[in-house]
């Protein structure tokens, strides 16, 4: 049971690596590319509690978490979200970490290769996840197209009061971009910053 996060506390009668607990948590961890070597499994209680509170308040809105190490923070937030929402997920992506720079690459590749449905799958997971974590925006040069994609995603999720979106970003001023849509994007992200 190498990938079971509950192995040291488990008191189930039998371990045959097929219990729902293992199936659902493993699926979500793999979907979000969190391996057993990730630092999110040994972080401080204060950090976990902070993100636990942020996720509790995430339903129906967009929140921005400022961090100097966006990759690590996104993984921790994703892990906390998985621990809260794995039960009953039935192998759906209830928690999804959308790496935005990768998402844009996949979309562009999909214009050329017709058989690859990665972009479509990422779009579906991002649209339907109960908790969506958006990271990697510090690796994107936001021009009109990049801004429109993200704004459209945020807008479509805000229509549902149960879906929460957390954007993990460096300081808003360090995000690179131009154009009228970019100023609108930074305005939305600035207003949604979660205070420490």
């Amino acid at each position: 049971m190498q990938n079971c996060i509950f192995s040291s506390h488990c008191t189930q009668t039998v371990c045959d690596k097929s219990c729902p607990m293992l199936a659902e948590t493993t699926y979500l961890l793999e979907r979000n590319n969190i391996s057993m070597r990730n630092d999110c499994f040994h972080t401080t209680t204060e950090i976990i509690d902070r993100y636990d509170r942020i996720i509790d308040n995430a339903a129906g809105k967009v929140q921005t978490v400022i961090s100097t190490n966006t990759i690590q923070t996104a993984d921790i937030v994703t892990y906390v979200g998985i621990c809260k929402y794995w039960r009953g997920s039935q192998l759906h992506s209830t928690v999804y970490n959308l790496k935005y720079s990768t998402y844009l690459d996949v979309i562009q590749k999909s214009w050329g290769v017709s058989t690859d449905d990665s972009a479509e799958m990422m779009k579906i997971w991002a649209s339907t996840a109960k908790l969506l974590i958006i990271s990697g925006i510090d690796y994107v040069n936001f021009k009109e197209y990049q801004c429109q994609i993200l704004l459209s995603l945020l807008q479509s999720r805000s229509n549902d009061n149960e879906l929460g979106t957390i954007v993990v970003a460096p300081s808003i001023s360090s995000i690179v971009g131009t154009g009228p849509f970019f100023s609108r994007l930074t305005e939305i992200l600035s207003k949604a910053v979660v205070k420490k």
Partner: protein
């Protein structure tokens, strides 16, 4: 939305900690205690400005909002610094959570001394040129001595010498300072310690498990499966629910063990066990003492203290796990409790309800095992040792006669480790009861 406390029906500052509403008593107690600590600090620093009052109201509402949502105070919050680490909420969230109990600036009667005025008066007392402004500021302080002096001065048209004026103001300031010191002392004595949440006592896994993947505590190949148990974190548990199969009690100091005690009495039995029941004694602390034939009241009470908490008990019958609560062993025979309940002598007193039957079955089994030293033919699956859960402060254990509290804490850790190791499917699969690290 109509608020309970508004400009027509104000709640006084000093009353805020004692009035909140008709929420569940447990939540209300927590809100009261948090507000008491916060109001104690706020009254010391109070400034009679709109901005500061709004700040006070925001803090109180935010704390109430958190407790209502989470049934406990924030983990980072400390009663010694009650104004720090109060989680933030948007206005809409607070309004929807608190409803009519939302506090507003207009709904509070601000019967608190303005500490900034007291300080400014102190600075100006030595300056003879500013005696007029001192008189003006003194009028704003809402205490009887200040008001009475200012009234006397303002109503009496006779001229005061500068010396007499300074003397009067100094007397006022001294009185105000003493009043502020008294309130500060009262707030310190009335502030309560942070309550241990019930979730700290759970046996089930923590919601967000942490472990060190670089240190596998157990790793062994079994057929096609590589079975691994990683060392759980924190390695030195700070809460009872942190204790896992990898916890090593020999690495813990006495003070670390003592931290496992909760700081208030926590009810660990079913809620119905703390309600009155005709014919059964209700202990004010430990709940109903259900009668069990063949055992005295003191033995049963001792059993309740040693075993306050039952969680998913089973029997293994023909390698199948069966609930411990549905069968009872009588004279080495396993029978359904429903078939024999009416014939039991206690059935006349104990109600035939789920929680009572479960308690009866388990406690009778434990008493027979521990006191009569009966070796049951159909034993419980896994271990269940005494003091699995510490449910009251160490002082309370001492008051009940269990004086060796360090030893009890050690037993708690050993019991939990044994409980989990005896049931852990990986360890059992590898048939290792005293598991050792294999890499």
């Amino acid at each position: 939305m109509k608020l309970i406390y508004d400009s027509r029906n104000k709640i006084w500052c000093s009353e805020i900690p004692s009035k909140y509403g008709n929420k569940s008593w447990n939540v209300v107690v927590k809100i009261h205690q948090a507000h008491a600590a916060m109001m104690g600090q706020l009254s010391i620093e109070f400034k009679n400005t709109k901005k500061y009052k709004q700040h006070v109201v925001d803090l109180l509402n935010r704390m109430s909002c958190y407790i209502l949502n989470n049934y406990t105070v924030p983990r980072e919050w400390n009663h010694d610094r009650p104004l720090e680490n109060v989680p933030e909420y948007e206005d809409e969230v607070m309004e929807s959570t608190l409803g009519e109990y939302l506090l507003t600036v207009n709904g509070i009667g601000w019967d608190v001394d303005d500490h900034s005025v007291i300080e400014s008066v102190l600075e100006k007392v030595d300056t003879s040129e500013s005696s007029a402004s001192v008189l003006h500021n003194t009028n704003n302080v809402s205490t009887e001595p200040a008001e009475s002096i200012s009234k006397d001065i303002s109503s009496d048209n006779s001229e005061y010498s500068l010396h007499e004026l300074e003397k009067a103001v100094k007397q006022t300031i001294v009185a105000n300072n003493e009043s502020a010191k008294k309130k500060k002392k009262q707030s310190r004595t009335s502030s309560v310690t942070f309550e241990t949440p019930k979730t700290d006592l759970y046996i089930q896994p923590p919601k967000i498990p942490q472990f060190d993947y670089t240190r596998p505590w157990l790793q062994q190949q079994d057929g096609a499966d590589l079975l691994t148990i990683y060392t759980s974190l924190p390695e030195i548990p700070t809460k009872q629910c942190d204790i896992s199969v990898t916890t090593d009690v020999t690495k813990m100091t006495d003070s670390e063990k003592m931290r496992l005690y909760p700081n208030q009495l926590i009810h660990t039995r079913a809620p119905i066990m703390y309600e009155e029941c005709p014919g059964i004694e209700l202990h004010p602390k430990f709940g109903l003492i259900i009668p069990i034939d063949g055992f005295t009241r003191e033995q049963i009470l001792d059993n309740i203290i040693r075993y306050p908490h039952f969680y998913r008990l089973n029997r293994l019958i023909d390698n199948q796990a069966q609930s411990f609560y549905s069968l009872i062993e009588i004279d080495s025979e396993l029978v359904s409790i429903l078939d024999v309940w009416d014939n039991l002598p206690e059935a006349k007193i104990i109600p035939k309800k789920n929680e009572f039957v479960k308690e009866y079955i388990v406690r009778r089994y434990l008493l027979e095992r521990d006191i009569l030293h009966i070796e049951h033919k159909y034993p419980m699956f896994g271990t269940l040792d005494e003091f699995l859960t510490l449910f009251m402060p160490a002082d309370d254990y001492i008051a009940e006669g269990y004086t060796n509290v360090v030893d009890i804490a050690t037993k708690c850790i050993n019991s939990r480790v044994s409980y989990k190791r005896s049931r852990n499917p990986i360890i059992r699969r590898l048939k290792l009861h005293n598991a050792e690290l294999h890499i």
